[in-house]
Symmetry: none
Subunit: 164 residues, 4 copies
């Protein structure tokens, strides 16, 4: 029984080794946005919105898809609080421009109804991943309040500020 | 390291200064409905419903999208309690006739799936913003129980009573 | 029956007239915080936290108890995102220092179990109302991450910045 | 087989007869509040609140514990919207003065933690059943915004208006 036990332990070690071999060399959130960067992205997005004369809500989430920074411009839609946060989360949940999910989630689309997961996904433009200079995704930014084109543009301006 | 910390703090101050610039001169809820006005709108909507022989639920929310007044007419649908409240909230969330959201949220629409935000949006007629005489949005009214045309007409009658 | 119906309508009009009498002259959200003020309060709270060496989440809500601004300092608790937001909301929901609710909601307290309302209340220090120079409540600030004494102190520093 | 079928039907009739014998002679909501009565109770409660100089939220639910009427007085707590509605529901859920639940739900109490049912119960004063002149419970009224004594007094004044 002692030999059998040893075998089981070896087998276990082997399994864990396999499991670990497949793993990347970093943890989920090894590359993560700082609050300084979040505020920088938020400030850049807000500046872009003001120059465009658009009133928006801006949310930044970190690598763990948790809220890092938020601001609601005076006069912007109350309903956009939740939409902006959900756009940012959606973008980080799947490391994608939220608008790109739109095509896939239409009736007949390959992931139709995925919007019912995660407490509700936003599948139209305005949520974009935030990357560092090496291209690692470190968070995401969500914007809501303007047209979908404006929201995407403003979010992109925010994300870009981290690299510049 | 002390110097670096100081630099970061300065940088942060700078960022927040940028964020604060460009603020509009008015706040979100500067113009708000009173309970007297809410009851007036509700009474007008109810009167219109009675004259049309329609049984409805009527909800009024304030500038902050919080419930201000509500009444359910005898014999109206139980399910319309939540629909009426959500119609009013939807209308204030996006300062829009709830029915106008319908076209935009169809499959293929530009904001398809936005209905999954804010705990559920109603995207068909029956929710309209309430404005004061100067045109400021001070709340919204939601009606449910009749056809969508009736609901919208009754809600509109309620909102109009504030201006007359 | 037509006469009876008319009587009911008259009676209803009378009731609603009674309901409308006695209304105060001001609305709930007449005094509201701007996003500039929200960021100012957030910046002051953050500065105070940094000087105290405490890592916190800071949330500001407006007069309608809706999120206006938020920041999570690096290394602060993930669980404090929701706590900070709920502290700010609790404070505005009842125009009170959230810590003062604690004594009232203990077992045997006069409003024991009120914490089960409004999607969950936080009844310990860290949420304080924000007032303007005239003393009108225009929003609230919630802080979470330090000890309850630290959280309250940081939140108070944030609220105070609006008046100074 | 025809005989067997007849037997089954007879047996079924017998079972249903037994089931029905135990039933009271009326359905759950046979005695139900009208919207006219709801507004009357609300108006009486509001008048009492105004005479006492207390700002409250008032909610009336019907025999099915569903919202029938609601008003929020200007300047009353935003958090009291949900508390008033939950007090009314709690009162009808168990046909009891909500304050009486308080003693039973303390730690060690016989129904400790029942407040976690039904989306949250309020177990302090301010919710009272509404009865018709024959003593049948036809709904309930919930009041929130004042002290618990004031809330109970105002709710009682509202309920009483239906009998007077």
């Amino acid at each position: 029984m002692k030999a059998r036990r040893k075998l089981i332990l070896l087998s276990m070690t082997f399994l864990l080794t396999i499991l670990m071999n497949g793993a990347t060399a970093y943890a989920q959130n090894a590359y993560d946005i700082t609050h300084e960067e979040s505020l920088k992205a938020m400030a850049a997005a807000k500046k872009h919105a003001e120059q465009s004369g658009v009133l928006v809500n801006i949310a930044v989430v970190d690598a763990g898809a948790n809220l890092k920074a938020f601001v609601r411009m005076d006069g912007s839609f109350l309903g956009s609080i939740d939409v902006a946060i959900k756009k940012a989360k959606t973008s980080r949940y799947f490391d994608i421009d939220s608008g790109e999910l739109g095509a896939l989630t239409q009736p007949g689309g390959i992931i139709y109804n995925i919007e019912h997961s995660n407490g509700g996904l936003m599948t139209f433009p305005g949520g974009v991943p935030i990357k560092d200079k090496e291209g690692n995704i470190i968070g995401a930014i969500g914007v809501s309040g303007g047209t979908i084109e404006q929201d995407r543009e403003i979010a992109t301006a925010g994300a870009k500020a981290i690299i510049d």
